[in-house]
């Protein structure tokens, strides 16, 4: 795979990629997109207009179909990983798209930039996020070429990837794993479930995402996140990909 030096492999044409929200197109008082969203990722914004939270989004595109004003569109862009939870919330001027993840700060970047060992904990994950992480290890994606590796013990790890909404029954194991990783360490929340609880948010049996149990350094949206979105997020976090370095997409 030529990426990241060459162009990325194309997303499926119906995937749609990250969403874009131009609230300047929203007429006063319009909220036609709000009731169609299954996870309430779209909600009226406190200061008027609407806000779209890609951390809750299942990318079903029901809102895109429902909006009569073309305010919500699919960009086809696979990039949507962010450092802050609020960076995933779209709406208002200058917030049409996700604020993409910045690189780790100096010391962490020096430590992990060329060698990152990650422990993966599924905590109520359905198996799809886990599968698409495994995909990155296959010969096509070859994650090892970036010095990123998944390891079998938290004692070997620099950080942790969390999949799933964090079932209460996994809370203890998740916290124990995090505590067993030596400082300094990072945590990555993978997919809508690990960011917000996804479609199971609000069930008393889950904790609505990783952040309720451990601090999170990188949020990777998707249901599940596409392998390309995951790789982009990891490389961006390690400072190995800058926003302007996005190679031209194949037509």
């Amino acid at each position: 795979m030529a990426y990241p030096k060459g162009p990325p492999p194309p997303l499926p044409d119906r995937h749609g990629g990250a969403l874009r929200l131009e609230t300047s197109r929203c007429p006063e008082g319009c909220s036609e997109c709000v009731p169609v969203c299954p996870t309430q990722a779209i909600a009226p914004a406190p200061g008027g207009g609407i806000a779209l939270d890609l951390g809750r989004c299942l990318f079903c595109a029901a809102c895109v179909q429902a909006c009569p004003h073309g305010a919500i569109t699919q960009t086809g862009d696979h990039r949507m990983a962010a450092r802050g939870r609020g960076d995933l919330v779209l709406g208002g001027p200058g917030r049409e798209t996700v604020r993409l993840a910045s690189a780790l700060d100096g010391k962490l970047r020096r430590m992990f930039g060329r060698s990152l060992r990650l422990r993966v904990v599924s905590a109520g994950g359905g198996g799809a996020d886990e599968a698409d992480l495994n995909v990155l290890g296959t010969i096509g994606w070859d994650l090892g070429r970036f010095g990123i590796q998944f390891v079998a013990s938290p004692r070997h790890a620099d950080g942790m990837v969390v999949a799933g909404p964090v079932s209460r029954n996994m809370e203890l194991a998740l916290r124990s794993t995090w505590e067993a990783i030596a400082e300094p360490k990072i945590v990555i929340a993978l997919g809508a479930c690990a960011i917000s609880g996804g479609p199971f948010a609000g069930n008393p049996e889950v904790r609505n995402g990783a952040e309720s149990v451990v601090p999170v350094d990188l949020f990777i949206p998707g249901w599940p996140a596409h392998p390309l979105t995951i790789l982009d997020g990891l490389l961006r976090l390690l400072g190995r990909l800058e926003a302007e370095e996005m190679p031209a997409r194949r037509p």
Partner: protein, 493 residues
């Protein structure tokens, strides 16, 4: 055989009024359920429905040879009933689950302990079975495993390398799925069905769609039924290919492991070609499908399918031609046909014991009524058989999809179904890639879901893995585990 049953007969993907489901006091209900199993019925689902301060037990059984399902219920009960498990082991987990959820006690159950209940921040697993003796030691693994997989706990009783007993304790993935579905359908229901088991989205979403359609008295358009079949078989192709790669990896046969890992992605991308999502999220909905294929897309799908099928064939030739692979697969983790039948195993795990048991063949619904693949069986019951059945199913599913893409159904892909009928029971079975998926719904007087019961094939099959490990070296656990490749979240719901 079924002509004399006292249960109410129903077809796969149909419903009947709740009051027409025969009812007896719980002891009599248990006795009659046992009698049906003795006559060859298979327990598909067994669950409680709270009512009048007690709990009604509901049994859904399948008469595979007669291509029919049958259902019965008890009167509301609160105490106990004679356990079915001592004489019919396939009831063992169902009875534990009913006890855990409703407090109705299966009297005489040999191993009554929680299934997935929470004890604060971990499952309430209860006591583990222990083997005595000075040389016996215990190995505990999990909940977090070495690879990137879901969590669960395995407790081995070993004498040296030999496993005397394995107890599998799950519940870590419990998300409250069934409880959250009650009172619906609400606006999250369809997405939750997509996410019941992340790698079986098409299977579970199709089962829900069949239940919802049965309750509304409608049928999805033929074009949608056709598209669901294509998507279901693509899901099978992707997962079986991935499983063969994972099995190759566990015996350190890296060429097939590497190739299958990549080809699995090619199959997932075919599903993404249809609906944009590699796992089929958002494709199957009550009333039909949310996406259709224009002729050009269909042609592209057919072309890319041929490429992936040719590549998986090459990779599997390497696998089967390798003597070292066969030596590791053969006679490892074997179960007999009698064990598989007693435990009520389903899917490839059952067919690898020689049982001819496949919902697509025994209880066809949707487009499977019109298009079928031969049932793939292998007699030896070991890791080899479970791998071999997957390979046979890859070939047969590939051929089935190939034929279907060449002769698509015409017409619309979606209708808007009416609301669900009140006070009804609906049941749907789908042969997912792991085996039989069973969804059952009981509606209230307003047509809301009073009780929604999901049985993933993993619920039947985990005990098969536990028994397959007896007498094996503990180091054979990974390859035995992969040969079943069961879902944790599908069990824990």
């Amino acid at each position: 055989m079924t002509t004399s049953t006292s249960f109410a007969l129903l077809d796969n993907g149909s419903s009947l009024p709740w009051e027409d489901v025969p009812e007896w006091p719980v002891e009599e209900f248990a006795r009659r359920t046992a009698a049906e199993i003795e006559r060859g019925a298979r327990l598909c689902s067994f669950f409680g429905v709270p009512e009048d301060g007690g709990t009604r037990l509901v049994a859904v059984v399948a008469f595979d040879a007669d291509n029919t399902l049958a259902a019965a219920r008890s009167l509301p009960a609160s105490g106990g009933y004679p356990s079915l498990t001592p004489s019919h082991p396939q009831a063992h987990l169902f009875e534990r689950e009913v006890w855990e959820q409703h407090g109705v006690v299966p009297l005489g159950h040999p191993w009554l302990k929680p299934v997935r209940a929470s004890a604060g921040s971990a499952p309430k697993n209860g006591e583990f079975f222990r083997v005595g003796g000075r040389e016996v030691h215990e190995v505990a693994v999990g909940p977090v495993h070495a690879g990137i997989i879901e969590p669960g706990h395995f407790r081995f009783q070993c004498a040296g390398e030999e496993v005397l007993h394995l107890e599998i304790a799950l519940g870590y993935q419990h998300r409250g799925v069934e409880r959250g579905l009650a009172g619906g359908p609400h606006r999250l229901t369809e997405s939750q069905m997509d996410g019941v088991v992340g790698d079986t989205t098409v299977g579970h979403a199709t089962a829900y769609a069949l239940v919802a359609e049965a309750l509304s008295g409608a049928e999805a358009p033929l074009r949608a039924q056709w598209l669901r079949l294509v998507a279901l078989e693509l899901e099978r192709l992707a997962n079986h290919t991935g499983d063969l790669g994972a099995l190759a990896n566990d015996v350190a046969f890296l060429p097939a492991a590497s190739a299958c890992g990549r080809i699995r992605g090619d199959f997932l991308n075919l599903t993404a070609l249809i609906c944009g999502n590699r796992f089929g999220r958002g494709l199957v909905r009550p009333g039909g499908c949310r996406h259709d294929m224009e002729p050009e897309r269909l042609a592209r799908l057919a072309e890319r399918l041929e490429g992936a099928l040719a590549e998986v064939e090459t990779a599997c030739e390497w696998l089967w031609d390798s003597a070292s692979v066969r030596a590791r697969f053969e006679a490892t983790g074997a179960l007999s046909a009698e064990q598989a039948a007693e435990l009520g195993l389903v899917g490839p795990a059952a067919r690898a014991c020689g049982l001819v048991r496949d919902v697509r063949y025994d209880h066809p619904a949707g487009w499977h009524r019109l298009a079928q693949a031969p049932v793939a069986v292998w007699p030896s019951g070991d890791v080899f058989a479970r791998a071999r059945v997957r390979w046979l199913e890859i070939q047969r599913s590939g051929q089935l999809v190939r034929e279907q893409l060449a002769s698509p159904a015409e017409g619309d892909v979606r209708i808007e179904p009416a609301g669900p009928a009140p006070d009804s029971l609906a049941v749907a079975l789908v042969e997912g890639w792991r085996g039989e998926i069973c969804h059952a719904a009981v509606t209230d007087q307003a047509g809301r879901l009073r009780r929604y019961k999901i049985v993933d094939p993993s619920f039947h099959n985990w005990i098969g893995l536990a028994l397959a490990m007896r007498g094996q070296a503990v180091s054979d656990f990974p390859v035995c585990n992969k040969s079943f490749n069961l879902s944790y979240c599908g069990f824990d719901l």
